[in-house]
């Protein structure tokens, strides 16, 4: 294995900075041992960016953590080497590893809140690695360098910020601090484990851009671990796709996205909502779950979920092999000649070893095939013609008091929803998008009846909900149900699934015991779970299965409207596709109306008939999905569309994109007039003084609240 890699690395390429060779990692817990990594080999040359992608639990984070010797309790390296700069980190002593961490290898974690110490100032934390690793450096110099680093990561007024504590910064700014900490010793390698997963699209874009720029200026190598194919497509030179503790496929990024060879990679791409032909198409799914890895599977690890698996796949394990198709050459030529890839890209291509395109599959995607062909399913795209208005919000306002309890004085209000009017028709899917803190969740909770609006009315099926009596309201509850983002939290851990599913019926006093049980069984059938599931507890299910249960419970009372609050954002792509398909199928069967709340523009586009875009408590744009995406009228909508990471390296580099800059202001002091004006490239004086009126400059039904709606139709977004 090693020999082979070294030879085809060729003579002209630089020696790898990091060379992981046949790495095995076991994680032992109370009663079992998980073989988390089973023969992972990766190379990284100086200055190169390597992306590691895969579903959760496939070992991508373990690979990154093992480089720094930061495995979780019970984790041990049981075989293989991690050569970094000529040193085997797998066998290194604790002091050696301590010297490497934060010094020659920097690390950025997912959650900037927990990776910073809340009791230390920013300055002290950024300066800390210097004081630890640079013997000759004094406090003063370390602080000066820390300040310099903060300026480099784009922190405004770094000198003042040095004295701040983490809680005084926004999430994006905290992640900048975490990056500054990782980079202050000028490491040769930066390991970023899902560095932007906890952040909003616009912040995410800014952070990734920052990491990119810093990598160029400091000339360091990077390992970017993420589940997000969009992030990978735009930020790395090479990609390793991991599955069940092994590398399934490895290639340069363009080659991988243009021509995936492993069936797993192909299936992952096909599950992306971005790749679905149009809204009528069912998404491709990957059935089942990744293996648990407590026993080493025989044969190909993906075989049980692969539709191309044969007897051979189940018996023998495929090795990583070089893709030998003759068309490799023109493919490479094409990459080099790509005009959009500026000088840096070509340089990176030169610097990276011609590692080629490797994959471990007996029945790879043939070269002639178009990647991820679409199979259009026959059932009709839209089930029912959108009918009469089912839900109508009129000038809805929700303000939360800022105070410390019933006796404390009120310190102001947070304007979560600042006057939203919209209508949802029966049988349609209304998709609500926006960044976190824009008020979309609060809006959903008001519709679901979990919050009372401060002002404005909610009309459901023609009746004003605020006028209902207590008993009427109780009966009304069953007509609107909420599907939660995290079904684990939304189910009582002490109840079995059967009891959980029956609870709504018990509360509403529907049916006899036998009828309730029959209904429960039917619901489990409808969401594709076995009836025996009623005897289990929620924590015994996987994330996707729990989301199926969540949907089943929401449907128990046969509601007219289901408010789905980010129902798929915690799921892997393959599972997300299953849930989206299921929701669509049930909508068709039962004539459901969805209010679908999400930050994910691609998911909304795939599912929604009508789209609403919220910004800081205001609905800035709404209209038919195709129109909003093809011809956004509000600068914010357009900025959002431009900011999204498209999982296609070719699309990302083409065309001018104007990603959103800056940060969302606090909802406690929203800007006067148009709330978006502080970040808007077209803001004028009138925007600060007057609230923008709602107009329909494009077509009836396509509303925008902007003084200067965008006129020029633009090319269809790639989302």
């Amino acid at each position: 294995m090693t020999e082979l890699q070294l030879t085809d690395a060729g003579p002209g390429t630089p020696a790898p900075l990091l060379s992981i060779d046949d790495l095995h990692v076991d994680i032992a817990s109370r009663d079992r041992t998980v073989h988390a990594l089973d023969g992972v080999s990766l190379d990284l040359v100086p200055g190169e960016a390597l992306g590691i992608v895969g579903e959760s639990g496939c070992g991508k984070t373990m690979t990154a953590l093992s480089v720094l010797g930061l495995l979780p309790p019970g984790g041990t390296v049981t075989g293989g080497r991690i050569l970094f700069d000529g040193q085997d980190l797998a066998a290194a002593s604790a002091p050696t590893l301590q010297d490497v961490r934060g010094n020659t290898v920097g690390m950025v974690f997912q959650d900037p809140l927990t990776s910073l110490n809340p009791t230390m100032t920013i300055g002290a934390q950024v300066a800390e690695p210097l004081l630890l690793h640079r013997a000759g450096i004094g406090r003063k110099e370390a602080w000066a360098r820390a300040e310099e680093m903060l300026r480099l990561v784009g922190m405004p007024q770094p000198a003042e910020r040095m004295k701040n504590y983490p809680h005084q910064l926004s999430g994006g700014m905290r992640q900048r601090v975490a990056i500054a900490m990782a980079l202050v010793c000028e490491p040769k390698l930066l390991i970023a484990d899902e560095p932007t997963t906890a952040l909003d699209v616009t912040t995410q874009h800014q952070i990734l851009e920052l990491i990119d720029n810093l990598r160029q200026t400091l000339g360091m190598a990077m390992i970017l671990v993420t589940h997000d194919l969009g992030v990978i497509a735009n930020r790395v030179d090479r990609v390793a796709v991991m599955y069940a503790g092994k590398v399934a496929e490895q290639s340069d990024v363009r080659g991988l996205f243009a021509r995936p060879r492993h069936r797993y990679t192909e299936a992952l791409f096909a599950a992306l909502p971005e790749r679905a032909a149009d809204r009528g198409t069912e998404l491709h799914t990957i059935p089942g779950l990744p293996p648990s890895l407590t026993v080493r599977p025989t044969g190909c690890r993906f075989a049980p979920r692969c539709s191309f698996a044969t007897q051979e796949c189940r018996e023998r394990e495929p090795e990583l092999e070089l893709s030998v198709e003759p068309s490799v050459e023109p493919e490479w030529g094409l990459v080099g000649a790509a005009p959009a890839a500026a000088g840096q890209d070509a340089e990176a291509a030169k610097a990276s070893p011609p590692s080629g395109h490797r994959f471990a599959c007996f029945h790879p995607v043939p070269y002639g095939d178009a990647p991820a062909e679409q199979v259009v399913t026959p059932p009709p795209a839209t089930a029912t013609e959108p009918g009469e208005v089912l839900l109508e919000l009129d000038a809805l306002v929700k303000e939360f008091p800022l105070s410390g309890g019933p006796f404390a004085r009120r310190r102001g209000t947070v304007s979560a929803v600042g006057g939203v009017s919209l209508s949802v028709r029966r049988g349609e899917t209304y998709g609500m998008v926006g960044e976190s803190g824009c008020g979309k969740t609060t809006l959903g909770r008001i519709v679901a009846g979990l919050e009372e609006p401060t002002a404005g009315t909610v009309r459901f099926d023609g009746r004003d909900l605020s006028g209902l009596s207590r008993a009427e309201r109780r009966a009304h509850r069953r007509r609107i149900q909420l599907m939660f983002q995290d079904s684990t939290a939304a189910m009582d851990p002490r109840m079995r699934v059967g009891e959980i599913l029956r609870e709504p019926l018990v509360i509403q006093g529907v049916g006899s015991r036998a009828e309730r049980e029959r209904l429960t069984a039917e619901l489990l059938d409808a969401v594709g779970l076995p009836r025996g599931a009623v005897h289990r507890y929620p924590h015994e299910f996987s994330g996707g299965q729990r989301q199926r249960l969540g949907l089943a419970r929401a449907l128990t009372l046969a509601p007219d409207l289901v408010v789905a609050d980010e129902p798929v954002s915690a799921l892997d792509v393959s599972v997300q596709a299953q849930i989206l398909n299921l929701m669509r199928e049930l909508q068709r069967e039962r004539g459901l109306t969805y209010l679908f709340i999400s930050h994910d523009l691609a998911v909304i586009r795939h599912l929604a008939d009508t789209v609403g875009v919220m910004y800081l408590g205001r609905l800035v744009e709404s209209g038919p999905a195709e129109q909003v995406y093809a011809h956004p009228l509000h600068p914010y909508t357009r900025g959002l569309l431009d900011t999204v990471n498209v999982p296609d390296p070719a699309a990302a580099s083409g065309g001018e994109r104007e990603p959103l800059r800056g940060e969302t202001p606090s909802a406690a002091q929203p800007p006067s007039g148009c709330r978006f004006r502080t970040r808007c490239p077209f803001a004028a004086e009138v925007c600060a003084t007057t609230e923008p009126p709602v107009s329909t400059p494009n077509a009836a039904g396509h509303q925008v609240a902007c003084h200067f709606p965008l006129a020029a139709p633009r090319l269809a977004s790639a989302v």
Binding site: G288, P406, A489, D492, R494, I507, G528
Partner: protein, 301 residues
Amino acid sequence: MTTTTAPHTVPGHEEAAQATPSLARRTLQVFTGNKLALTGVVLLVLLLAFSYLGPLLYDTEQTHTDLSQANLSPGTDGHLLGTTDLGYDMVGRLMVAGRTSLEIGLAAGLLATLFGTVYGAVSGYFGGWVDAAMMRITDAALAIPAMFLLVVVAAIITPSKGVLILIIAAVAWLSPARLVRGEALSLRNREYVQAMRMMGGGGARAVFKHIVPNAIGTVIVNCTFQIADAILYVSYLAFLGLSIPPPSADWGSMLSAGITYTQNGYWWLIFPPGIAIVLVVAAFNFIGDGLRDAFEVRLRK
């Protein structure tokens, strides 16, 4: 709702059909794996058997005093642990006194836990003004020294078993109330409680179906400590001479009586009740610790 589509088999979900043992059974499994906790259970069972079954095997006169037999040292005239200052057989006396101590301790501990749990759950779940008012009441009650309260009340009323149970429970409910209130404050914001509200469920269902069952670990663990404390309270009161009047006895009053003769070297009047108190309190504490561990691992896979 008509019969929906035929069950479509979604591959990969087959294992989801298997029933799994109940949470209670798994909790029990972990508990029985804990040696110290089992020791506690054995100790408690032995003490209960000693107090309730003992008199059947070892019958002694425990109503009428016999001063001619007073303060005999252990082994004399068939008295295994000697006799008390009033001539009762020491072993038999321990049995009778144990009944009182255990009964009052268990009843007061359970009563305090029951009331405190509901009080705390209601206060925490409803929050706001309800919570503020209910918690100020507990704060006020906590500000009065428990011992002082017990002494005053016991001095005014002639204590009987029932009265003692009520008095001790009246002091002891405060700590489970505050504990459960803290749990309820976080539990009421859980999404499954909100989901229940979505279905139209009310406060009673939330408190008794979701809040209390999910706080049960804390409640049960605290209950064992409450029982241990209650047994100690009985002993304190008895030691101060404020317990149920003779010929009844409990371990605390035996201790109190024995102290008088410390200078005479009558050790058998002091050690047996003292050790009994230590054993029973330790047993409940071991059980409590074991239960805490069992409830903690319960939801881990």
